[in-house]
Amino acid sequence: MSVGLVIVSHSAKIAEGVCELAAQMAADVRLVPAGGTDAGGGAARIGTSFEKVANAITKAGQGDGVVILTDLGSAVMTAEMALEFLDEDERATVRLASAALVEGAVAAAVQAQAGGSVEDVLRAAEEAVVSIRPEALEPFVSRSAAAPGTAKAAAPEGPSASGSWVLPNDMGLHARPAAVLARGLADLDAEVTVNGIDGKSVMLLMSLGLGKGKTVSAQAVGPDAEAAIELIGAAVEDGFGEMNEDGQH
């Protein structure tokens, strides 16, 4: 089981489309659209509905937690309202993300598919603020420089380590391995850079588009730097568990 997602949009088509897109990379995650508003029997109209959102939260939840992503302003208000109506136990497992809807939903779904906690999934959604174009990623090389144009934070202190490896698996560093790496690194006390981007961001790792035979270069600084490099090295050399025993695909 995994964290479920609720996609709230003014448009039923947008909500369904975002779920469809995210499902491509997260086949086992409950993705529940809550788009449009009830229109007394007819087709859904533009707007958001408390009832649809509340029902979607129940459907997505199933005990493993839910992250809600929304589009424009009143979708946020409707979602907040639905949260207030949950009983306390259920409320504790649901998070409302401040995220770009499409990018956030894809990142969150990938993180949920990889078995991330509700907090992991929330963070993946909220950090996915960039479109997936490597040349656009320059300002985002560090987690601490999350907004375009912001200066990079002070360099971290402590021991450093680095390594580089060639990707052996056919699929390379695709969504699932990106989520595995980001989640493993998130627990470590180190700033980790992978090919120039923040190694703790699923979306940025995916955006590198590294296929089989490409080189992964990582630098880590901080108390857990050594562990971070070992984690990346072990995962890459293992082909992210996607190789058979004789090393062939």
Binding site: G36, A39, G40, G47, S49, F50, M77, T78, E80
Partner: protein, 213 residues
């Protein structure tokens, strides 16, 4: 009349009539600075409220009426007005509790709770060119009237008049919340649709009370 469950029902029916009559007007206000859906959304939402009142058993308290209306508006209005008016009526219902009828002080407390709910939900402040600019003067006028000894109907009438003046006063403001805020300076010179519908709804409350009483 006493502000009992019958009054609360008549309030919502009068509001539904007013919203239906002003549907085009509200849509035109929203077309100028928003997405042109306020009239249609409010008309659909209040028509659903009336249908619910028609279908249900007669409620015992005004709070029951307002709570049922709130839940309906939240699921049928669609735009920002759904959660905003939904929250307002829910908070109003909570404020009234299980009283069979509202006395002047309870009317003031009810309006104040509704306004506070809208502020909490929409995070708007006075002067942002939102429905708050109608609600806050309404609450203040109601409090002034109640402390001068006005009856419940007169308290509502004072609130309604102040809401209408507050709505008119949004004309020159520059929007700082909601869809209209995307327009910046160009939002000045138009009345805020939410403030306009607030004035209609509070006028309906006063009308249902049948004047000073």
């Amino acid at each position: 009349m006493a502000l009992d469950a019958g009054w609360a029902q008549e309030w919502l029916r009068a509001a539904a009539r007013a919203v239906a009559e002003n549907r085009t007007h509200l849509m035109e206000l929203d077309r100028a600075i928003g997405d042109a859906d306020h009239g249609e959304n409010m008309d659909r939402g209040f028509a659903a409220v009336v249908a619910k009142l028609d279908a249900g058993p007669p409620p015992a308290t005004p709070a029951e009426v307002l709570k049922a209306a709130a839940m309906t508006l939240m699921s049928t209005v669609g735009g920002a007005a759904g959660p905003l008016y939904g929250t307002a009526l829910l908070r109003a219902a909570t404020s009234l509790g299980d009283a069979a009828e509202a006395q002047p002080d309870a009317v003031v407390a009810m309006l104040s709770a509704a306004r506070d709910g809208i502020v909490a939900r929409g995070k708007a402040e006075s002067g942002d060119k939102t429905m708050i600019d109608a609600w806050t003067p309404a609450v203040e006028a109601a409090a002034t009237a109640a402390s001068a000894g006005a009856g419940p109907g007169a308290v509502l009438a004072a609130a309604a008049n102040a809401a209408q003046a507050g709505a008119v006063a949004t004309d020159p403001l520059v929007a700082r919340k909601g869809r209209a805020s995307y327009l910046g300076e160009r939002s000045a010179g138009h009345r805020d649709p939410g403030a306009a519908s607030t004035a209609l709804i509070l006028a309906a409350a006063a009308e249902a009370a049948g004047g000073p009483g």
